[in-house]
């Protein structure tokens, strides 16, 4: 497995994973909607100019074209910012891709508040909820470059349509090539007994790990799960940590309605209810700002994660 240290941003990593796959899989094609220089799919274009198509600012058509390409035996990856890759082309994803059983892989970049300076119009808070409505659609939100690289390749071999939620800029390395990263299997990063913090994505997994340290200073032992695959839900791991801790806090960079917290709450309510807490964007729309400002504004900080966990313990 390739070491993702070869890359300097998440965008290079996700595109690199596809470019590497495309070398051995001539059926892979890439479509972008005038954001190829933002995600770096220009690297795919350079490597495979005959298999890259810039569809212009027309996401609905891009998605429909991808479905048509898929029906001829090709495997399209398509990209836009997460807001457009989910909301703007939703009926096309639902009917032309989902209902027809075509396989198309969607990269929705800059999830939640990571859209930063593009502001409220560009912040996808509801993309997870939308993708969940499409039967068999896989949803991943990796929390580091290595898992982003590996999961991007795994969703291709999985064969079902998928939605990859990833920031474009920045990079971190939580995992190495030695770690087992498996689609559909969350990763237990800490295994404390008092409260389970289940987090998705870079921002929330980082906050959860730091919160775990803050909590440990107060003698509170937390479990931390990196739930990199949102769908299918790793119910086995969720039941295990819920059973161990009896309290579960779900942290996601998106909206509660239809999101990860609601998925987990619904599952645990059906099998073995526990006390739960949720950290998400609530009823707010997005707004402009840098990530530090936005994380404070939305409460996506280690301190707030820790406070939520403590509040849950007090209930």
């Amino acid at each position: 497995m390739k070491d993702a240290h070869a890359y300097s941003h998440y965008r290079d990593t996700v595109i690199g994973a596809i470019v590497d796959l495309a070398a051995e899989h001539p059926e892979i094609v890439f479509l972008d909607a005038d954001l190829s220089s933002c995600i770096g799919s220009t690297a795919f274009q350079k490597a495979y100019p005959d298999r890259f198509f810039n569809c212009g600012i027309a996401e609905a058509n891009m998605t429909g074209v991808a479905a048509g390409l898929a029906s001829t035996g090709l495997v399209p990856f398509i990209h836009s910012f997460g807001c457009f890759a989910s909301r703007r082309d939703y009926d096309q994803l639902f009917i032309s891709v989902g209902y027809t059983h075509q396989t198309v892989h969607v990269i929705g970049s800059d999830p939640g508040i990571t859209a930063q300076y593009n502001g409220g119009t560009h912040m996808p808070f509801e993309d997870i909820a939308l993708m969940r409505q499409i039967p068999s659609m896989v949803i991943v939100e990796p929390s580091d470059a290595q898992s982003l690289y590996e999961l991007t390749q795994q969703i291709y071999f999985n064969g079902k349509s998928s939605y990859i939620r990833t920031p474009r800029k920045g990079i971190n390395f939580r995992y190495t090539t030695e770690d087992r990263i498996e689609l559909g299997k969350g990763i237990e990063l800490r295994d404390g007994q008092d409260v389970a913090i289940i987090a998705t994505g870079v921002l929330m997994v980082d906050a959860a790990l730091e919160a775990e340290r803050l909590l440990s200073e107060k003698g509170i032992k937390a479990t931390v799960v990196d739930l990199h695959t949102i769908r299918p839900l790793d119910t086995e791991l969720i039941e295990k940590v819920a059973s161990r801790c009896g309290r579960v806090l779900v942290c996601e960079n998106g909206r509660y309605a239809g999101g990860v917290g609601e998925m987990i709450a619904a599952h645990l309510a059906a099998v073995s209810p526990v006390k739960m807490g949720f950290l998400n964007v609530g009823e707010r729309f997005g707004e402009v700002g840098n990530l530090k400002y936005l994380a404070l504004a939305f409460g996506f900080t280690p301190e707030n994660v820790a406070a939520k966990a403590e509040g849950l313990l007090a209930r």
Binding site: G56, A60, A67, D91, S96
Partner: protein, 278 residues
Amino acid sequence: MDRSMLDALKDRAFEIRCSTIREIAAFGSGHIGGSMSIVEILAYLYYKEMDTDPQDPKKESRDRLVVSKGHAGPAVYATLASKGFFPQEWLKTLNQGGTRLPSHCDMTKTPGVDFTGGSLGQGFSAAVGIALGQRIRKLGARTFTIIGDGESQEGQIWEAAEAAGAWKLDNLFAFLDLNGLQLDGYTKDIIPQIHIPERWASFGWDVQEIDGHDFEAIDAAIEKAKGVKGMPHMIILDTIKSYGYIPGEGIKGNHSMPITPEGAEEAIKALSEREGRA
């Protein structure tokens, strides 16, 4: 096109019309208007132009048809059944629970349906993708697609049109069923479609406009289009909505109509007389 081919196509069109009317009558109502208006182009494509194999409907190198105005399913099914893609008996199951012939064309249900239509505008983008895929994969095949004039109010049609023009998809042959009616009434009274040939030409398409019920005109237009390289082809079909189901011809409210089995036989008799077949 010689006389015997012309006569054969006319016979096929008559047969497809009769099957479509009876198919809808078996259920009691259905999308008669937009089905009947495209019968000539369906008959021409399946009986003269397209390379398809009813015994191998998923053959990769086949020519494909995307009926983006998916509510014309009844006419598509009548045509596919006549070609032998599935038994004629299936036509009696239109829209019944568990049927393989749903109201709108569905590639997951019906042998011979190359892409799903129904959410208007979407089939057209898929057709562009299919034509592009045929080119990338060097399949040497063509994509045919039928859109509606009401459907052309969808923005997605024009997104797809500009992409096909930009990509110079000369293996894409589109037909616009210009029947002048949509569900709520005459298109001219709702959102009029004006400067239609000019619009398509401005998107980089090779454009012709013909009588959509005239096989010789269809034949000449397709042959001419095949000689034009480097552009996708739009053949605008001037048609009459419900053409051949005389009680509904050209009238408001013919998008979907109730038809009884007795009414179907009366309508077929009337059509037969008008065509001099009685």
